[in-house]
Symmetry: C2
Subunit: 346 residues, 2 copies
DNA sequence: TAGAGTCACTTAATCGCTAAAGTATCGGCA
DNA sequence: TGCCGATACTTTAGCGATTAAGTGACTCTA
């Protein structure tokens, strides 16, 4: 006996496949007695419906996908876990694709996901390609943009309030007495732009004129990691007069930047205060515990799942809010703790 | 125009669906001219085959799954990325399931994956349940055990040489002069057992008698993280005479243990040397850069994919080696660097 | 007591594709 | 000329489910 089908159960019980199908799906159009017999036999044989076959006729697979550029950064892993946990509760299973920040791969993955017949997807896009979104619209597959907004694409977006992140982090550096604050930038996408904008605004509202030479961007493209932070910080430290505070686009950059600061013989936070963004795991146990902006990824994942589910439930009714922002939290640790301070610990 | 089917292309071109199918699959039983026309039209309409429908008739989906207990630890994420990259090259796509170390969830996930019709799976099991493996055998779905061996289940296994890990780490502590070496243990599964065994053997072959009270295991079950390391190390440090070296099952435990050592007012590595296992990211930038055993996860993932592919290709012929071990590498950093030493840096 | 309505099924079509079997056309060869 | 074997298709029969429509057997009502 290889694999059990409805046909087998129907034969065993002397009923039609249709009846078996109805029993399985709790269709009212079936008698209680027969339903029990069918259900009992199903349990006995450990029957599992063939989801492919079901999907073929219903047109729905109960599978949604999450497309992310990266899985090594805890950020997307945490979102993935929260999302999938939430979706599982509602009978959906989630499939993850990662694209290594490569629009080509992303294109291929999305094509493949569509071929597979997923019901919807959540996507943290790589590149600024809009073709694949047009494709999704054509195919009528609902999707949610995550973390990265795409100009010109009308779809629900959920992410952090990046401008607020930048503002919060920069203001914190100002509060602890930094006068010349540098920024190590993120990739050329909405979070990078938003945080940079927040940084600029915070400076301006403190009466400090933003200086272009204090803003550096890693040379290489791709995900921002440790090495980029090191390299960028070295360039930043060479600028005169030297910065006394650095706001980094994310925590790995900040870790790299700290290494560069130490390598230059400077002290953290006395000479240069550092703050990152993302509240990386183990950020508290680094050589210099890192101040950061917590992005609240768990809530982000759960809300993303919620938005997806609501777009999935009602086709015609107006969907969820166009833009959802998750509120950040400032986490002050010793990498920026220069003066007595109302700090929230982690 | 919603979604393009073979039927549409066939109608447009005045040929039969069968012909279209043959053109798509490069069947020799089709003329070059027609094939070109079909392919051209497919490109025009951006046709994508419905994989569900195809799977229904062929019985194969070209989807494999990876079931892991956890995605936050970089260990499994790295494996996932390496595996999926490798599998993608061979036309397979990979689906990830995580089980939060919960056998119940694992059971459900596997059932679901089978319903979905995956062709094979790689599994780092949670618990010691063997029922689901029996189910897989019944269904004739090939699988590979990853990282965790299961007694009584006959299937290809790939993982680290855990006994060697334990041996290597412990011998290193002995080499740097530790006399009383403690161990903070892993979950009660093959890696935990193997590393403990390696620890014991290393002590014995150095003429040190293993002492039970120097072996502690976190109270709580579940994945071993920072907090468990902290709690366990506190208990370990209370034992007299105090340990002067600790080998931890994994890096997060070791990070926690380091915190506990520092909190107790002791110095690392002078008073207590610490070594972990897994070569966590950022392990080099911790407050105390952490010595560790690198498990070579990328190779692990690639080889796992290779094994899976080879079992997938030939059904009848004897499969790959029953057991594959990936070779580790000792990484010495300051958490254990007490004496001049032939060290390999990272 | 006929007609309508309900209940509990069965039948049959269908989803999009593959694959085996069938058919028509043609060139080559004895 | 007639038969064979390619070649290049078309036809047909599923894969395992769902679902609309059809069918008896009852029950109830006027």
């Amino acid at each position: 006996m290889a694999i059990v089908r409805m046909k087998d159960i129907a034969r065993d019980l002397g009923v039609s496949v249709g009846a078996v199908s109805k029993a399985l799906r709790n269709d009212p159009d079936i008698g209680q007695a027969t339903k029990n017999r069918v259900l009992h036999r199903m349990k006995e044989l450990n029957y599992r419906p063939n989801l492919m076959a079901r999907a073929l006729v219903t047109g729905r697979t109960s599978i949604v996908a999450l497309v992310v550029p990266d899985l090594l950064s805890a950020f997307f892993s945490e979102i993935a876990i929260a999302m999938s946990t939430e979706l599982r509760k509602h009978g959906y299973s989630m499939l993850i694709s990662w694209t290594a920040e490569d629009p080509e791969i992303q294109h291929g993955e999305i094509d493949h996901l569509l071929s597979l017949g997923i019901d919807a997807l959540v996507i943290a896009t790589s590149g600024n390609d809009t073709i694949c979104f047009r494709r999704l619209k054509e195919r009528n597959v609902p999707f949610v943009l995550l973390d990265r907004e795409v100009p010109g694409v009308k779809a629900p977006y959920i992410g952090g309030d990046d401008e607020l992140f930048g503002n919060m982090a920069t203001r914190h550096l100002i509060d602890v007495g930094c006068k010349r604050i540098g920024h190590i930038g993120g990739p050329p996408m909405s979070p990078g732009f938003g945080r940079l904008e927040g940084y600029r605004r915070a400076l301006q509202s403190a009466g400090i004129k933003p200086v272009d030479k204090y803003i550096v961007t890693p040379f290489e493209p791709g995900p921002r990691t440790f090495h980029h932070g090191f390299e960028s910080a070295q360039r930043l430290l060479a600028v005169n007069p030297r910065v006394d505070g650095i706001f980094c686009f994310n925590d790995p950059l900040a870790v790299g930047a700290m290494e560069a600061v130490l390598a230059a013989g400077l002290r953290i936070p006395q000479d240069v205060a550092i703050i990152g963004c993302g509240n990386l795991h183990l950020g508290a146990t680094l050589r210099n515990p890192l101040s950061t902006i917590d992005q609240n990824t768990k809530e982000l994942g759960e809300k993303a799942a919620g938005i997806l589910l609501s777009t999935l439930r009602k086709d015609s009714k107006k969907g969820p809010a166009r833009v959802t922002m998750v509120q950040p939290r400032l986490v002050v640790r010793s990498s920026s703790n220069r003066s007595p301070q109302r700090s929230k610990k982690t």
